[in-house]
Amino acid sequence: MSIGSLVLRRMALLVLVLFGVTLITFLVSHVVPGDPARMMVGQRASEETVARIRREFGLDQPLHVQYGRYIAGLLRFDLGISIRTQRPVIDDLVTFFPATLELALCSIALAVLVGIPLGVWSAVRKDTVVDHLSRTYSVLGVSTPLFWLGLMMLLVFYGKLGVLPGSGRINPFSPEVPRVTGFLLVDSLLRGSLASFGNALYHLILPSFCLSFVNVGVFARQVRSSMIEVLNQDFVRTARANGISRKSLIYRHALRNALIPTVTVIGLSVGDLLGGAIMTETIFAWPGMGSYVVDSIGFLDFPAIMGFTVFVATGYVIINLLVDIAYTLLDPRIRGVG
């Protein structure tokens, strides 16, 4: 299947996925007892006020009418008005998403840069001290509670040593970086301010390290097991017999084959992080999607919950598409299948 038809097929599937996701989320969020209108007007509001707000937001309409309206809005890229923030949901998502994506991409990049070589090293030196250490780290990475790790890192690097900043995306007293893309690293470069770029990068170190800690372990473990399997295959023996250098054998032949399942794992991890890493965002005061969603759920802010779900579902479909494209690039055989 060509990449073009793969993209087309996935886009068609996206429509089905979004229909299913919106329907389920809509039903689930409306079945939960609780009145968003009352949450909005405060505890002491009279019944008349609450009823008026219900009318204003269309919450007094039958469920199927509300759902129909929502879908009609969705087709115009209108995700409705948030009951909590009283802003268009799309504006809220555009505000918070870049912060989450910037952090997610940095932490994934860090995890890939460390996790994959660690996995390769561990596989090549199987059952040596290096391998044992790497495996121990993998288990530690997966089992360390993020809130504890985040707090410890904050305490040591910000509290005790004072070498890294403690919260936010940039120092509040730095010159303001005009918002263009919402990605501070990009916006500061667009503005030509290396100092702001550095400051934003500084602020990324602790949260992205914290987030990548788990993924380094996951990626390393995945690469290790795939590599061990690949290294035992016939073509590797043949390549070795043909005198291919050890470096070329590991990185050009074995790793390339071992990367296919790893790419799936990386894709899933990016998908997970898109929803916002709530713990990390909370500890490092990172203004991302995580806390927006948690606050919206607590407030029964249906439009915000639905908007977020649609957003993340779309993100997942796109990531899966990218993962499939990555397969075809890594393994030419896949291009012909379909």
């Binding site: 939960v32 007892p33 505890q43 002491r44 900043p165 290396l194 100092a195 029964l300």
Partner: protein, 518 residues
């Protein structure tokens, strides 16, 4: 060759990153004329006619002025925008004369037109803040700087309610920002348009609010030129930033952290009695809680001292009646239940309610104290043969159940909006307020209803005190709530910060304009 070129590119990128990291360090420190306040959560909206949350008021309160304001640390109101006022003998017509030197941040004058616009807008929007003026009929401009409010029934707390955030005088220029007939709600939810000492310059969502001086402010120029309200959700991180000097004031820390911060010589930790209470609703419409003797038995079985020391770490006092100490109408000799298991057993026997039985205690994670309070009640009620099952729900769902009366016992907090016992006596005990509106124990006693309604009709404070006192005596016998504790308000700040005045009516609304940094 290609690999070599790639290597060079990699080295250049790496070099740039290292250089960028070396350039700024952690960035500039907090300037002396800037006050940084660390809070736990971002706010919803800033429009005074819409928001009902203290956290929003913390940002907007000093961006506006009101006709009257709470004075210093007291619960008394005095002149602010209004320099004087009169009230008709029947309490229905209030006339205010305004100061003539006050200006909005766009230099337009704050006059009677602006006051009329504010209240017409507030009532037309009709959200939570408008509920503080239930009998407001009309607002008329008498003269350019004289305004008349007419009520359709006397409402004695009216003057106090004018010090609420909802009564902040809004610049009529916001009308030009109206969209789809929203009276400028969309615009004002993210901006300020007042005549207070500050104005909002920047709001980075979920990150920070930056207040700067209003150049047209008529009062004394504040020493603090910029206020940065930073959202730092994790309390440990907030505490750490306070200790490191990256924030000057840390709000909403857990009680044990305040204790630990007391040991730091660079930090000042203070605690004041507030008017906020934590109490337990007993649903008077549901058996066996519809039995007065049974409710009295539960009131005697609660270990008040244990809850104060164990849950609130001593930062609270036991309530004596519904009106908290510090609010007029508080009676120091009204009946107070104390932990007395013998008495509880005797009342339980008299009630005729058979034990063992199970009661459900409804709560949410909105307040971390609600669960330990439930556990404390559970431990003591067990002695009476009553099993308390803790039922934790999402806050929105809990509110729904409270509003519908679908609970037995439930955790609750209450903070008054204005300094009048009406906030407790009428909201809590009038049957028209059954549910979330205020009467959360679904209580009804005709005598009490008559007394508190009469107290809400007359303006003489001495007479009202007497009526409220009579009602309190009846209420304490009926025991519709377990009157637990009146909480302390705690705050920690850097030693070099001066001038903070705690006013129990202005929780979380720090008087930035009177504060300074050494």
């Amino acid at each position: 060759m290609q690999a070599k070129r790639r290597g060079i590119v990699f080295q250049i990128v790496l070099g740039l990153i290292v250089l960028a990291l070396l350039l700024p360090g952690c960035g500039p420190k907090v300037p002396k004329d800037t006050l940084v306040v660390g809070i736990a959560d971002d706010i919803d909206v800033l429009d005074p006619a819409v928001t009902s949350t203290n956290s929003s008021w913390a940002v907007s309160y000093w961006c506006y002025e009101r006709l009257v304001d709470y004075k210093g640390a007291t619960t008394e109101v005095g002149p602010a925008l209004a320099k004087s006022w009169t009230v008709s003998p029947d309490g229905l017509v209030w006339e205010f004369t305004l100061r003539e030197n006050s200006k909005f941040d766009d230099a337009k004058p704050v006059n009677a037109e602006a006051v009329k616009y504010t209240f017409d807008r507030l009532m037309a929007i009709g959200k939570g803040p408008a509920e503080a003026y239930p009998t407001l009929e009309t607002v008329e401009v008498v003269e350019p700087y004289k305004i008349k409010f007419t009520l359709n029934a006397p409402f004695p707390p009216f003057l106090y309610a004018l010090a609420n955030n909802g009564a902040s005088i809004v610049n009529p220029a916001v009308q030009s920002k109206e969209k789809d007939g929203d009276l400028g709600q969309g615009w004002l939810s993210e901006h300020t348009a007042g005549s207070g000492p500050y104005k909002l310059e920047q709001w980075v969502k979920d990150s920070q609010h930056k207040l700067v001086l209003n150049p047209n402010y008529a009062g004394t120029a504040p020493s603090i030129k910029t206020v940065l309200i930073k959202i730092v959700k994790d309390p440990s991180a907030r505490r750490l930033q306070l200790e490191k000097g990256d924030i000057d004031v840390a709000a909403e820390l857990p009680l044990d952290m305040y204790r630990q911060l007391e040991k730091n010589s660079n930090i000042v930790v203070k605690s004041w009695p507030s008017l906020s209470v934590t109490y337990t609703y007993m649903n008077c419409q549901k058996a066996p809680l519809d039995n007065v003797k049974f409710r009295q038995a539960l009131s005697y079985a609660a270990d008040y001292a244990g809850i104060i020391s164990g849950v609130f770490l001593g930062n609270a006092t036991q309530m004596r009646g519904p009106v908290p100490q510090g609010m007029w109408g508080y009676a120091s000799d009204v009946k107070q239940y104390t932990y007395n298991l013998e008495k509880a057993r005797q009342l339980l026997a008299e009630s005729g309610v058979a034990t063992p039985l199970t009661l459900k205690y409804l709560y949410a994670d909105r307040d971390p104290n609600w669960e330990p309070v439930g556990l404390a009640l559970q431990a003591k009620f067990k002695e009476l043969g009553i099993t308390v099952e803790l039922e934790k729900l999402a806050y929105a769902t809990m509110r729904e159940n409270l509003d519908k009366g679908e609970f037995q016992l439930a955790a609750g907090n209450w903070t008054p909006d204005f300094a009048d016992p009406y906030m407790f006596m009428n909201y809590w005990f009038e049957p028209q307020n059954w549910g979330l509106a205020g009467n959360r124990s679904w209580y009804e006693n005709e005598q009490v209803t008559d007394l508190v309604r009469e107290a809400a009709r007359i303006s003489d404070q001495a007479q009202r005190t007497t009526l409220y006192r009579q009602a309190q005596d009846l209420i304490m016998e009926d025991a519709p709530y377990i009157f637990l504790v009146q909480k302390n308000y705690n705050l920690a700040w850097r030693k070099n910060v001066e001038g903070f005045v705690f006013n129990p009516m202005l929780l979380d609304m720090y008087n930035f304009h009177q504060m300074a940094k050494k």
